[in-house]
């Protein structure tokens, strides 16, 4: 009996230590797969929007994602929840990935809409979904306005205001 309980005790100690070791190892393995610090910190990009031409799409790369920059003409109605406004005018600035499965839509200037070739999704000039499988408008990256430029990755007051508008 004494022998049995001693073995049971040793078994519990072994299981406990091995369990702690297993959890610690899993934690380390999980962290090893995390993005590196250099990857995480990369990506505060300043973009000057003043050289853009009306109706012509520019694409830049930020955190490996394409960012659509599109200057609106004076005939385009203002959209409080979607437009980024600098001292030079208003712009569509979105992550240029279809919200369905992440393909890059094309800008059709003549039809003033974005079309995704993968599964036929369409978006209007504000990058709001109008047809097909996309579940939501294209995402607006965090930004802050500095004169005629914006800083991507920084959450300025304009961005926060947009978030509250989007929620309501």
């Amino acid at each position: 009996m004494a022998d049995k309980s001693r073995r049971a005790f040793m078994g519990k100690i072994l299981a406990g230590t091995a369990g702690v070791g297993a959890v610690a190892s899993l934690y380390a393995m999980k962290k090893t797969w995390d993005p590196l610090p250099s990857v995480m910190s990369a990506g505060f990009t300043t973009v000057d929007l003043s050289p853009l031409e009306v109706g012509k799409l520019s694409i830049i790369k930020w955190r490996g994602k394409p960012i659509f920059l599109l200057k609106h003409g004076s005939d385009i109605e203002r959209n409080e929840a979607r437009d980024i406004v600098t001292q030079d005018g208003s712009y569509t600035v979105v992550i240029g990935l279809c919200t369905h499965l992440g393909c890059i839509p094309e800008w059709k200037k003549d039809e003033t809409k974005f079309k995704c070739a993968c599964h036929g999704g369409e978006y209007d000039i504000y990058a709001r979904e109008t047809f097909g499988p996309p579940p939501r408008p294209m995402d607006i990256p965090p930004f802050s306005v500095k004169g005629s430029s914006i800083v991507l990755g920084e959450e300025g007051p304009e961005y926060k205001k947009m978030l509250t508008l989007a929620k309501s």
Binding site: K30, P35, L36, G64, G102, I104, C118, H119
Partner: protein, 423 residues
């Protein structure tokens, strides 16, 4: 301790230490296979051989391949394809092998479904087989990423994005799997590790389990007949080979197997040398570019049916988003075959064509899968999108209906048997 005496031969010396004679009996000469089988029973060995061919060709590719976003494409398309002597051969063997192993897996799988080889004690064979199917799918997906062409990149993009659909943790999970905000160097290198080490190790383990799971229920036969293996084996060993319903695995069964295998290998190497293009997508000969989506993204042929289920639901239904329905349907398609032994409520083990209701289900399912595969490759516009939608719905409904169909069949069979008994 066992007694060791002076051995008279190398064989005897080894036998004293490893008991090879017994091992040979258990695994080969007295491992019994039913006589009443056909060429479809050779697919297991065909798969094993194809896997070995993939392993060997993979080892040779591994010596020159570079898992780095700046070097991967060139290491495949210039170094291996042009500089390395016979590098092209190993690449074509590897590409054709990956495609054909899925063809044989599907034949193997549908042989099992047709003959009802997933029930009455054979559930573990089915489950371990489906586990192998999942592992081979992971192996194919991770391998497809390595040449780092446009299709590699965008397939990786779309497939890793699917995990974003998991509630709450989705977005973080995608970044974690990729090791970056997008498909990048970290992604390539970790999937390289999965492709050359972790998944193949798991496959080898899976094959061991799959073979072992055959041991007790034994393989099925063409009529689903339950054999008394001990009695039949004794009959065979007593010399009454003609009346015995079984044959030993080695050399009798393997002699038949090797014949089928040889026929397969003629076909295999014909494709490798003369018709390898089907396994080499032209779009993948453009280097990966994260800023340019190819006009149409489609997987290799063997994933087309589940890809079509994923994108078949292209409009919102009753407040549910199209994407979420597609993901749910995709998840359903991935696991539903695993549950087959429990969805089929009829105890009858017989070829589908001898089952009054199941035969319709079986052949219709095959047709639906072919339709899904064909439309999975076509651009999802207009009529195509609707055919994809209806085929996906039919696929799901057929699996939901299977328990009812087979319950009804079981009752009908019981009644027929009772009537026969009364006469």
């Amino acid at each position: 301790m066992a007694k060791f005496e002076k051995a008279n031969s190398v064989g005897e010396w080894l036998d004293q230490r490893l008991n090879l004679t017994m091992l040979n009996k258990v695994m080969m000469t007295e491992y019994w296979i039913p006589k009443n089988i056909n060429f479809l029973w050779a697919m297991g060995m065909v798969l094993m051989t194809t896997f070995m061919i993939l392993l060997v060709s993979g080892i040779f590719l591994l010596m020159y391949y570079k898992p780095d976003v700046n070097m991967a494409f060139d290491s495949v398309n210039f170094t291996i394809m042009q500089d390395v002597a016979y590098g092209w051969l190993f690449r074509h063997i590897h590409g054709v092998g990956a495609s054909l192993i899925f063809l044989i897996i599907y034949i193997h799988m549908f042989t099992g479904i047709y003959y009802g080889s997933y029930k009455r004690g054979r559930e573990m064979i089915w489950l371990s087989g489906m586990l192998l199917f999942v592992l081979f799918s992971a192996e194919a997906f991770s391998g497809y990423m390595l040449p780092w062409g446009q299709m590699s990149y965008w397939a990786a993009y779309v497939i890793t994005n699917i995990f974003g659909g998991i509630p709450f943790i989705g977005d973080e999970l995608v970044v974690w799997i990729r090791g970056n905000f997008y498909v990048a160097d970290a992604t390539l290198t970790r999937f390289f590790m999965l492709h050359v080490l972790l998944v193949p190790l798991a496959i080898l383990g899976g094959i061991a389990v799959h073979f072992y799971s055959l041991r007790i229920p034994h393989v099925n036969n063409q009529d689903g007949e339950e054999l008394d293996y001990e009695e039949e084996a004794n009959r065979y060993l007593a010399g009454n080979k003609k009346r015995s319903k079984v044959i030993p695995f080695w050399p009798v069964f393997m002699a038949k197997d090797i014949f089928v295998l040889s026929a397969f290998l003629f076909f295999f190497f014909y494709l490798v040398f003369y018709n390898y293009q089907f396994a080499m997508d032209p779009v993948n000969f453009d280097p990966a570019n994260g800023l340019k989506t190819p006009a149409h993204i489609y997987p290799e042929w063997y994933f087309l049916w589940s890809y079509e289920v994923l994108r078949g639901f292209f409009f919102d239904i009753g407040g549910m988003k199209a994407t979420d329905i597609g993901l749910a349907a995709f998840g359903f398609a991935q696991i539903i075959f695993v549950l087959l032994p429990w969805l089929d409520r009829s105890p009858t083990v017989a070829p589908a064509n001898r089952r009054p209701y199941f035969k319709y289900w079986f052949w219709s399912m095959l047709v639906v899968l072919i339709i899904l595969s064909v439309y999975g490759k076509l651009p999802p516009t207009g009529t195509n999108a609707w055919i994809g939608f209806y085929a996906s719905v039919v696929f799901i409904l057929m699996f939901l209906a299977l328990p009812f169909i087979t319950t009804k069949e079981a009752k009908a069979t019981e009644k027929a048997n009772a009537e026969k008994g009364a006469k």
